[in-house]
Symmetry: D2
Subunit: 378 residues, 4 copies
């Protein structure tokens, strides 16, 4: 087995949410060692957070971190960026320019232009730029993608994806919740609220499994909670090149829902249904036929097998899916360091190109919404 | 118990589908006796069909039937209209003019104007005009409506209704299937294909439970099967007066789906989910809370209790829901015949007004579709 | 279509439960006309109940009814017996002796000896004796039986059947509930409480689908509710001739359960699971394979098709299953009256032989329980 | 945060199964560092396995390992024992005698006497002896236990636990499968096959949640696969001190089942159902009431909260449950090292006492089986 990669992190200090998830994910498959971080821009908080995590090297300035780490012989191989959205681009730029691989949370950036610049930079620097679209890490999502790619669904007809939560159903940002505060602040989150936070996940999941991007979309945003400065509800229609139709809805005000991300894909020969809250199974139903419940561990596509750790009937979950992205990233980085092509089993790792697609989606939705739902090409 | 009402039927001869369902439904609660019918416009088929059903009186001309039955001392009290759509209005008109109550399948008519004329005629004649929106007969649908009416969901936020089937995923109309043939023939089905056939059910269910009609809608139709002359896929967005949003999809080309009619209603305080394929249960989930599985027989709203026959755990289904409409109609007709107000427990019976709403929906969707998805007021 | 059979009923007057279910079931498929009944042994109640049902002929003495009906040219063809258990045998005897076919509720009788005498009498009189083991009427139960018979499961290994309710979790019989009163009164219900009431259903379902009776059983009964005079909880182990094992549990004190009758059959090649509360589906899973959700309407065994009325996705339920037994009985009676062999599609109708098996089960369980769980041959 | 504990491992080399699971579990919450192991008794395999895991210190003799590690200043704090069953007792003895804490897989030992000796030794040495009954680590299992302890179910009535798999439905041990080989070899697995492998999990889960052990049991074992030397199917009845009943079944030949561990507990006031394959939810249903689906992340007992990492709707699974045991063990060891009482939130960690209960269960089942199902006190 290869050595553990040296991992750095920017963001994710005390009071943060997704940073801890990244750390769990990086740890699970034992391919990383977290050795350095700028957990907060506030020096006190950064130091306290680092101590709590027993980190050897702590920074409060990510530029300084990029500089110093790239200069050390034992500097980090790769940095995980888990800051609020507005910092994704500057932080990623700093590390890429320092020659350090990047694993970045989504959405990729604040604007499409920013995103495209990152993609160009990553290419120029020949560095990995993974984007943590977590749900791509589920074995049954990968199996779904493999089934579509193998033509099992026939011609695409209808894609329905919904992502419903209720955690922002009330004005949480007004009551001191840090997560809610930055996610509803356009300066830190971007112009897209729910759209950027979970709409991009739904979009990516549909594209990842269907293997297609729509040609055009029509969208409307809505804000249900009075005083909120970003959207908390998104509806999108899509049209695909072959005439297939799609519908996407994302909402953070759907009372009672925890994290309902459901994808349904209908083809001319069969359909697939995946529900994130029950990720160990995938439903496959032929036209005029009967549903088959495909389960993780008994679905033998190489893609699904590659992403599974324990036998069928022993559920894996969200952290395992997240860990899979980290594992794929590690396999890619080792290959790049060795100067060999990336292993084919890492083909399912979402990278900066998918992040750019997400930004394109955000901008198209915003454009369509402003134009009263006009159909916008992608 | 009141005497059995004398029931007539127009349509529903050999090879038909929904006529047999109406007969089962009329029989279940023992409030009707089928005594006369014009089962087909073809005299031979009408007679053969009537003999098979052991019917005392058979006609092949519905006008003749209306005339003769209204003249007999033991003539029918009420007629069930189960013809293809284009005959709903002329048949209903003939019987209403003869002073006979009507139970009519949906969609109500070919056009909104026709539908409105029927509503006016029923009012003028002081006759019942029930429309068989079957799904309104389910106890848990009625319980859902009662919960919304009681304010349990808070303010309406998002209504999602989908009705997906796969039976028309291939060009069945080209292979001699009689059901497919008339349903895809604009002359008999009207301009709305899937839209009229199941879209109206989805629309009615959402309105029935939410207690609201949207103010405006935006829609697109699509035809997936080459050569088909009507739509087989419908997508609609809705906006409600309080700003609530809605999304409706109906498709008859959704591979693998049998009869997936699912309604999700999200309010500011709680949500409801009903799935027609599992009609003995209803999910109720408070904001930030945990789902409750409400079951038929243990849900004690008067509306649900009125519509249930056997104890909890003994499933009732589609025919029982259909029978409930017949029972409610019988209770109404007896009240009308007795000159007393209709019993309050029949308030949930869909009548011609809801049929007119369905026609209004169809026309608005057609208008919006032709206008490239423009928002159309209802 | 054949003429409607003239149906009589004994039991089922005001305040009764299962009588109304039999009437709904007899009506659904339009093969019967209820024309005479002894709805109660109390003349006043019998008359009032008959009037409510608009019955032409009412009796209060079932012997008198058997005598008179057999003497009339338009007398009943068949009688439905829906009394408490202790009357099953005397009533059935009276009608069989009068040459009238019988449809009887379960358990068949109070003792095995009584049951065997009924079977002998029915054979001697050459009359139909159907026993309403309702769950045999479900299409997916019949499909399950067909799959087992076709060898799809391989060799039988393990049969698990459970029937759990909570309606007797408290001493309902002490609070005036008539259903609870007779069902917990050994004089009317027999020595078997829960054992006879629902244990026999579980037993019959397992035998019906597996196509086998165990060779021996070991059992224990328990009474949880203080003061109750019969068992309210039953546990049974079974051994089959090929070494297969079985476990049966029936309980009427299982808090929260409505009518949980679940059958799981494991063979050397595959397994089947049927849950009565979701009767439109059946799960089939091959060894090391993935579950298939077989649905009513898309499962094309002749046995399932024969027992279905409406298309896939339009749920049928308990009353339809019950009606199927009445329909099968009608088909049999018409064949007997015509002197032709019974139609093969009625092979799934439970008759007096299965009723006798049920009595044999009851006595074996009682014997084993008294002997401290000793293994008792059947 | 405390320092990482230094972890050792015995067993779990190349080709093993559960060792890798222990390592994943130990890593997840970052409380351990694996620094030494005797991964195999074969020196070559031990070394190769250790290299693959980048282990600093590798042994092939566990006694040597215990000796050396206890002598080092940086020796291991705790050892994980993941060998076949027959080595549990000798290995645990060696490490306990060396003063090293133990985390041991189940079943605890080959015999009850061995198990009791281990318990006594752990007590004498004042060392932690955790037993990895994984399913106790699920948040919803802990929540269930808390609900029972709080009296929410009323008085216990019926406990039903089943654990069904199909992986040994065929003679896998004859085809070179190493897992199957040792698990069906009495010399390595003990006399209990399925009984020890998964029956003990079912037993422990029932006891853990119900808070009670039965007073007596009656059991039978069976071997379905010809030539197999241990049982592959177990059935047990239980009686509790208050008269409550229980039934346990465990089978490794149940075609189609992956890892179906389901616990149902019925009390006089309510019931609970937990299914291991859907571990993020727990069903709670009051007597005569409606089911509530309690979910991880929204079930706020301290016990459940302590065992959860990510928000509701983000599924956790088997590895997280396993990791929880490791975390609880770490919290206990730190407390012991600090000389303070164990934190109350670790009360749910299964320790050697539960392991002894498991051995008592195995011996009682074997005794009852040999005595033809006689009731055996525990």
């Amino acid at each position: 087995m290869n050595r553990r990669l040296r991992l750095g992190m920017v963001g994710g200090g005390q009071g943060a949410f997704i940073g801890a998830v990244h750390r769990l994910a990086a740890r699970l498959d034992d391919r990383y060692e977290l050795v350095a971080a700028a957990l907060s821009g506030d020096p006190g908080r950064a130091a306290a957070s680092a101590a709590e995590l027993r980190l050897p090297r702590s920074y409060s300035d990510y530029r300084e971190m990029a500089r110093q780490e790239s200069a050390r012989p034992d500097g980090i191989d790769v940095v995980a960026i888990v800051t609020p959205n507005h910092l994704h681009a500057p932080v990623a730029t700093a590390f890429l320019e320092a020659g350090i691989h990047v694993i970045c949370d989504k959405p990729l950036a604040l604007t499409l232009a920013e995103g495209e610049a990152l993609a160009a930079l990553a290419k120029r620097q020949q560095r990995l730029f993974a984007v943590t679209h977590t749900y791509s890490g589920y074995p049954m999502v990968r199996h779904a993608r493999a089934l579509v790619a193998a033509g099992e669904l026939g011609e695409l007809r209808y894609v329905q994806v919904e992502y419903l939560q209720d955690w922002l159903a009330e004005p949480l940002e007004a009551s001191g919740n840090r997560q809610a505060a930055w996610r509803t602040d356009p300066a830190r989150s971007g112009q897209a609220g729910c759209l950027g936070d979970i709409g991009t996940h739904a979009w990516q999941l549909a594209a990842f499994v269907s293997g297609q991007l729509p040609e055009t979309l029509s969208a409307e945003l809505h804000t249900f909670v009075p005083g909120r400065r970003v959207d908390d509800h998104v509806q999108v229609w899509m049209r695909y090149s072959n005439g297939a139709r799609g519908a996407l809805v994302a909402s953070q005000v759907a009372s009672g829902e925890e994290n309902r991300l459901v994808l349904r894909i209908y083809g001319s020969r069969a359909s697939l249904v995946f529900s994130q809250e029950e990720p160990n199974q995938l439903w496959f139903t032929p036209l005029a036929g009967q549903a088959q419940r495909l389960t993780r561990g008994r679905s033998l596509s190489p893609a699904a097998t590659h992403a599974t750790r324990v036998p069928a009937g022993h559920p894996e979950g969200y952290l395992e899916a997240f860990a899979q992205l980290y594992t794929d990233a590690a396999l890619r980085i080792h290959a790049m360091q060795a100067g060999v092509p990336p292993p084919t089993e890492t083909d399912d790792l979402p990278c900066v190109g998918e992040g750019v697609n997400g930004m394109r989606f955000i901008e198209a939705v915003l454009d369509s919404h402003r134009a009263g739902g006009a159909w916008i090409p992608l």
